[in-house]
């Protein structure tokens, strides 16, 4: 029983962090058809900015978090204007933007390597203390993360469902031409989505580094996992991605316990491969009818 609580606790925390990292990716792919390979670097950037804001600028942790989110939102905008916008005018957008963002991500990551050095730094935005359930001690930090994640996801859900901006984003994802005919300025939607994705990545990066540590290359793994979550859920399906993220977190916690950390990623991947062979469009994705 204790083991179960432990696994669920870690699993939910992991899942929450993945979910926050994934929402942005899913929105960006859904509306833009863009796989943002710089996402991991932005996530890492968020963690470092938060660190620098607290340690070097003496900001209050909440302000530091906001600062990180803001900076990363701006980076998202920068990516829109410098890469997505010009490439949307040419052919092969999907491939080109994939590669361009690989380059951009590498630049960001190496700038952080240059600026902060390769050695792990602890993330100062952390809460001490524990919550005790039965015989199990759960770090308060985990509960905190879960709380923040829930709040964020609720906020995003409200944005998407109840505001006209959110409706415009959903409409653009579903049918870009129709959205244009409704008077939606799709360019602005793209910029908004990339900015939002950046901010969410920053928060996710802060969360992840608060449990692990800050290193310049920490973004690669979470990004890959976030992508896997998106793929399993069906790219573009935001709500499915959240569910899949939590499931992935639980699964990872379970396999880590049973098989050890080393094998958990491999097992996860095997499962994902099997899922994709069984359902090539993801668990919740719908096959797109291609009109020939």
């Amino acid at each position: 029983m204790d083991v179960l609580i432990q696994i669920v606790a870690s699993g939910l925390t992991l899942g929450a962090m993945y979910a926050v990292a994934t929402i942005g990716l899913s929105l960006v792919y859904g509306s833009l058809n863009m796989l943002n390979m710089a996402h991991g670097a932005i996530l890492t950037l968020g963690g470092y900015i938060c660190y620098a804001a607290i340690v070097h600028a003496g900001l209050h942790p909440v302000l530091a978090l906001l600062a990180a989110a803001l900076v990363c939102a701006l980076v998202g905008l920068l990516i829109y204007f410098s890469a997505a916008l010009p490439l949307l005018r040419a052919e092969n957008f999907e491939t080109n933007i994939f590669i361009a963002t690989i380059g951009i991500g590498s630049v960001i990551e190496n700038l952080m390597l240059k600026g902060f050095g390769p050695y792990p730094i602890p993330q100062p935005l952390a809460v001490d203390g524990q919550v005790v359930i039965g015989n199990v001690h759960i770090p308060l930090q985990n509960v905190f993360i879960l709380g923040v994640a829930i709040v964020l996801m609720a906020a995003v859900a409200i944005l998407l469902q109840r505001t006209s901006t959110g409706r415009a984003i959903r409409a653009t994802s579903m049918n870009r031409e129709a959205a244009q005919l409704m008077g939606v300025r799709v360019g602005r939607v793209y910029a908004q989505v990339l900015a939002l994705s950046g901010a969410l990545a920053a928060v996710s990066g802060i969360m992840i580094s608060s449990i692990a540590t800050l290193t310049p290359v920490m973004g690669g793994d979470p990004m890959l996992k976030a992508f896997i979550v998106c793929v399993v859920a069906g790219l573009g399906n935001v709500y499915g991605a959240v569910i899949a993220a939590i499931a992935l977190g639980l699964l990872e916690a379970a396999t880590q316990y049973v098989l050890g950390v080393r094998w958990s990623f491999a097992t996860l991947l095997l499962l994902v491969i099997l899922v994709l062979i069984w359902r090539p469009y993801g668990l919740f994705g719908k096959q797109q009818v291609v009109r020939l």
Partner: protein, 236 residues
């Protein structure tokens, strides 16, 4: 020209190097139903897309109430009141009927409740299905939702691309009843239709589009009186 809402003046348009429309000259007069007919694949949809700003106009002009709109962004054209109900509806499948209608009012959200009322009165089936996801509607209901969505925008000129496409005859009649009602109420309507017979009676002006050019223009009655045109171009 006082009466023209929409003027297309020697406009050519096309996709990446391929010219689809060649020096089109026609007007949609205020309060009238102007129809574009012709065989499929000859540019009718492209014309509407060019007016809506989705396909670039390579030469010539398009004017709304005398002001040029051919260089504007699609969202700007919608803001100025030129609304298109596209071919195949292009509804937002995961949104409800209600949300689709709300999207219709995106560019012009004033008097929302009033306009929703108007649409629901005109198309009562939509009211019944207002919380249903658009992807689950029947063909006729989808068409109605598309038209309702177009009406939510208010707007000066309503353009419809093949409203009868893929529907059963009885449904088509109902759809056209709605359209002709709108015409009677004084809306400016630009209609693209493959089957000219159906609208010949009601259209104030018919233009025949063949191979990207206007091959014939005139009144509906005139068209029906010229069976050779009907046969050559409309292959009925």
């Amino acid at each position: 020209m006082v009466d023209a809402a929409l003027d297309i003046i020697n406009a050519s348009a096309g996709y990446s190097g391929r010219i689809v429309l060649d020096a089109i000259k026609l007007s949609a007069r205020k309060g009238e139903l102007t129809a574009i007919v012709g065989p499929n694949g000859h540019g009718k949809s492209t014309l509407l897309k060019a007016i809506s700003g989705l396909v670039p106009v390579t030469s010539g002009e398009i004017r709304l109430d005398g002001l040029r709109i051919d260089r504007l962004r699609p969202d700007q054209i919608v803001e100025r009141g030129v609304i298109q109900v596209p071919q195949g509806d292009l509804l937002f499948p995961a949104m409800t009927v209600h949300e689709n209608l709300l999207m219709g009012a995106y560019a012009n959200s004033g008097r929302l409740a009033e306009r929703l009322d108007f649409v629901f009165t005109l198309l009562p089936r939509l009211k019944e299905r207002r919380n249903q996801t658009a992807g689950t509607l029947s063909g006729g209901e989808r068409r109605m939702c598309g038209i309702g969505r177009g009406l939510m925008a208010g707007g000066e000129v309503l353009m419809l691309d093949e409203p009868s496409l893929g529907l059963a005859p009885i449904v088509i009649e109902h759809i056209y009843e709605v359209i002709f009602n709108l015409r009677r109420e004084g809306r400016t309507i630009l209609l693209v239709e493959e089957n000219a017979e159906r609208i010949a009676e009601h259209a104030d002006m018919i233009h025949l589009l063949d191979n990207g050019r206007i091959a014939w223009s005139g009144l509906g009655a005139e068209l029906m009186a010229r069976p050779e045109i009907v046969e050559t171009y409309l292959g009925v």
